[in-house]
Each structure stands twice: as C-alpha cells, then as structure tokens.
C-alpha cells in the first residue's frame, strides 16, 4: 500500500482528537501486530515491518502536540490526501488558480529526457519561472507533496494510485505530456509495477 500522511496511516482526519489518535494507534498496532490473524496472510513480512514502522512514526508525531503542530503546518494547503478507508477516491479536480500564473508555452506537450526525476521536473518548472504555490493553487495538491515529488522523497509520498494523478497534474501544468511523464517518474519508485 501507499502510506500518505501520518493521518492516513492511522485512518484519521487532521481534525482527530488526541484520544482518537490514541485509539487508532492501539487499533492499528493490534491489526499489524505479531499475533494478528487479520493481516498475517495478507502482507509479506517486509510489508508488515514497513507498515508497523509507519504506524509508529505516525503515532510518535501525532501524539506529541508540538510535533503535530509542526507537521500540520508542513502539510499546509488543503488536505489532498484521502482517508485510508476510501479505496479509490477521486482526486479533487483542478480548479482555477487564485492568482495569475506565468504563461505555459503553447504547442504540443513536451517530453523530458528519460528517466524523469524530481530534479528534472523541478528544473523544467524553474525554467518556466512557475512557483510551486501556483501549481498547488491550481491543482489543489499540497505544496508539501509537490516538494516531496521534486525532492524524490518517495517514502513520504502518497500511494502510487494517487501519486500518479499528482504527477500528471503537475506535468500538465508545465505543458509536459502527463501520462508518460508520470509513468517515467513512477517507474523509478516502483519498477516492478
């Protein structure tokens, strides 16, 4: 699975109370625990280890008021990531940007050289002089996620199924061919998919 935000990992919304964080942590610790019958046959040992780490990381941040506040601030923007119990939600549609944005070159969509990386996306964006905030405003994807995409912080990115949409929107905004750009970017993250 993809993991999304700490809130997603614990199946919570950012409005969750401290008590809900605690309850969710207890629940998912049990669900992914050594003795759990609910997940043992569903996940490979490596996946189980990974998800346990994620649950612990999420709890460590969200149960600490100061760390949580910092995390919330970092997430900024509208909550683009869906809650975990929604299997295939639709990503919010692109909206009209709040401010005028620099013009994207007209003409057919461009392709970046293979492989598409966070750095090459960032370079393409900077060449056009488009701030990340403008893309975030138009696509409703949180600035933080766009930064993660550019920084290749794959472990912090949401599930592939959502990430694909994010990268496509990002690419479209820069006048890049969305589908192939996203495919090339995702291939580095999950070469086996």
């Amino acid at each position: 699975m993809g993991y999304g935000t700490h809130y997603d990992v614990l199946g919570l919304t950012p409005a969750a109370t401290a008590e809900q964080v605690e309850q969710a942590y207890q629940f998912f610790s049990g669900m992914y625990g050594e003795e759990s019958v609910a997940t043992y046959s569903l996940l490979e040992p490596g996946e189980l280890r990974e998800v346990r780490t994620r649950v612990q990381q999420a709890y460590d941040v969200l149960c600490d008021a100061v760390k949580r506040q910092e995390y919330d601030a970092a997430l900024a923007a509208p909550p683009a990531a869906p809650v975990a119990e929604e299997p295939a939600p639709t990503r919010p549609a692109a909206a009209t940007p709040a401010r005028p944005v620099p013009a994207v070159p007209a003409g057919p969509p461009r392709l970046l050289p293979e492989p598409v990386t966070g750095a090459s996306l960032r370079k393409a964006r900077e060449e056009l002089g488009i701030p990340l905030q403008h893309i975030a405003g138009a696509t409703k994807i949180g600035v933080r996620f766009l930064e993660y995409i550019e920084a290749d912080r794959h472990r912090d990115l949401p599930a592939l199924v959502y990430l694909r949409g994010f990268v496509q929107e990002y690419a479209r905004f820069l006048g890049l061919e969305p589908r192939r750009t996203a495919e090339s970017y995702l291939r580095r993250i999950a070469p086996d998919q």
Partner: protein, 314 residues
C-alpha cells in the same frame, strides 16, 4: 378522469448468501439461525442449501434428509423449484435442501445455474438465504455475487481469514471478468488469480494500477466494480473480546490492502448451548433462545434488516 390508486409498494424480495471460503466455520448453522430469526420477525423465508456437494442444512433444523432436493430440480426430476420446497415445522420458514444424493450437482453447468438462480429470484418470499459451500469455485462465487447481501463468515483463526481473503479476491476478479470486454485486460485478470503471476499482481489494487498504466481506458470499469462490491463480515465463534475486534481489522485491512470496501455486520459468541443443541440435531435458537449466541443472532439480524453495521468507536 380518475387516477388509478397507487399500488402499494411491496418490499423487494432479497437474496442473502452466507459464504466464507472455509468449511466447518458454522455457515449452515448461521444460515439456519438467521432464517429462524427472520421468520420470527414475520418474514417469509426460504433457506436454500446451495452446498451442493456437502448439504447438511436440514440436519441443523433437525430434519431428516428430504426426499426431494435441489438436485432433483437441477436434473429436471422436479419441474418447479417449489416442488422441492420442504416445510421445516417453523412457521414461515421453508427449506430447499442441497443435493447430497447427487455429487455431480456440485459441478452444475452455467445454464443450469442460471435456471436455478432465476427460479430462486422468482420465489414468493421476503428473504432467500443461500448457504454456500466451502471453497471458491465459480458456482459458489456466482451464487454469492447474485445476492443482495453477501455475508462472509470467518472464525478467529488464521486459516479461516486467509480463505476469506481468497474468497474476496476470487469474487472480485469474477466481477471484473464479467464486466470487462477487453481481451488483454481479461488476460491480466486471469493472470492475477495466480498469486505467483509474472506481472507481480498480488492484490486487486495492484491489478488496478497495472490496468491504469497499460489500458487506462478500462480502469474505470474496475473501479466501478470495486466500489459496488460490498461483502459483509460475520465473525463466528468469538471466545474473547479481542476476537470480536477482528471484524473491524478485516474491514480496515480489506480497504487498505485490497481496495475493497467491506462492512462488519456482527459477531456470534462461541456458546456451549449451541454445541449441545447441535449434538441433539436441534436449533439452539429454539432450545436456548436466551443464550448468548441466540442474542447475538437476534442483534445481527436486526442490524442486517435495518442496514446497520458495526463501526469503530472513533
């Protein structure tokens, strides 16, 4: 000019199926109990023992093996499905027994299956309960998919839960196969049934991602099928509080790791009263109506009729 009086809307008859993939987890007893409770609530109920290879629903109700069974209808020894209906001695509750006399019936062909399903749908009842056999054969899956309410029975044991996941995947992939026309996507779906497929597809979410990448135009069909597929878990033989919590874990695990939105219908405690009644070939709902298990069944049926499910407290 007069306006015809509106015809009072009759509640639509419903088909509930009770599956779970594994044998020996109490599907038949659960079916009989649900049927009993529904009949007690005034619903006209027909139990159908669809476990064509290992029918024993009649035993749960304390009946001898009926002379006429679903097998007779399938083999056309009985023309109408009503001809194989058996009274159970409980008001409003009737039974169509499985084909214990005819093992080959477990491999009925598709047109026969359609005939059975159509006749079941046409029965004059409020609720039809299908007791499915163990396993994930197409017969069982198709009976499950035709239902309005699909109950997945599990007991708090690894093997039972492993089989339930297998059942969910098989049923969902069967839905995909029925909905998709594109040959290449159908081949991917077929391949996905093998856990060791060369595409690395282990879950419906993996399959969806592959189809989105390779056949983006077809992905929406799969998403629609995933959204419409809503099996409900029943945890049977609960012995300790943590066992009842497994239902919530299954719902969360299915959503996160399979992309399937299940719900948790309820649980039934392990109860010596059930065991005692089974030994005497009697239904515990009759013999021990105030037992813990009987109260659980009552609560479960009320929830199912009202469309309520168990949810986490936060």
């Amino acid at each position: 000019m007069t306006t015809p009086a509106p015809v009072p809307a009759r509640p639509r008859r419903q088909i509930w199926s009770i599956g779970g993939g594994k044998g020996g987890i109490g599907k038949s007893l659960l079916t009989a109990s649900l049927g009993y409770q529904l009949a007690k609530m005034g619903k006209r109920v027909i139990l159908v023992d669809s476990d064509l290879g290992g029918a024993n629903l009649h035993t749960c109700l304390g009946l001898a093996a009926p002379e006429r069974t679903l097998g007779d209808f399938i083999r056309r020894r009985a023309e109408r499905i009503e001809d194989v209906l058996v009274e159970t001695g409980i008001p409003l509750l009737r039974l169509i027994s499985g084909a214990s006399d005819f093992l080959a019936a477990a491999n009925i062909k598709y047109p026969q299956k359609v005939r059975v399903l159509n006749r079941i749908r046409a029965l004059e009842v409020d609720v039809v309960l299908l007791d499915l056999g163990a396993g994930t054969s197409y017969n069982i899956i198709d009976f499950f998919l035709v239902s309005d309410v699909g109950l997945l029975t599990v007991v708090p044991e690894p093997t039972s839960i492993e089989n339930a996941y297998r059942f969910i995947k098989s049923a969902l992939y069967r839905r995909f196969r029925n909905a998709v026309q594109n040959d290449e996507v159908r081949q991917l779906i077929e391949a996905a049934l093998d856990q060791k497929n060369p595409h690395g597809i282990r879950t419906p979410l993996d399959l969806l991602a592959t189809v989105e990448r390779e056949h983006p135009g077809e992905a929406q069909i799969l998403k629609n099928e995933m959204a419409a597929f809503r099996p409900q878990f029943v945890v049977n033989q609960v012995r300790e509080p943590a066992d009842a919590g497994i239902g919530h874990q299954l719902v969360a695990a299915c959503a996160r790791h399979l992309g399937v939105r299940t719900t948790y219908a309820g649980f039934v405690h392990y109860d010596e009263a059930v065991w005692r009644s089974v030994r005497q070939r009697r239904l515990f709902m009759v013999d021990a109506p105030r037992s813990r298990a009987a109260e659980d069944i009552t609560r479960l049926v009320r929830g199912l009729v009202q469309g309520e499910t168990l949810t986490l407290p936060w």
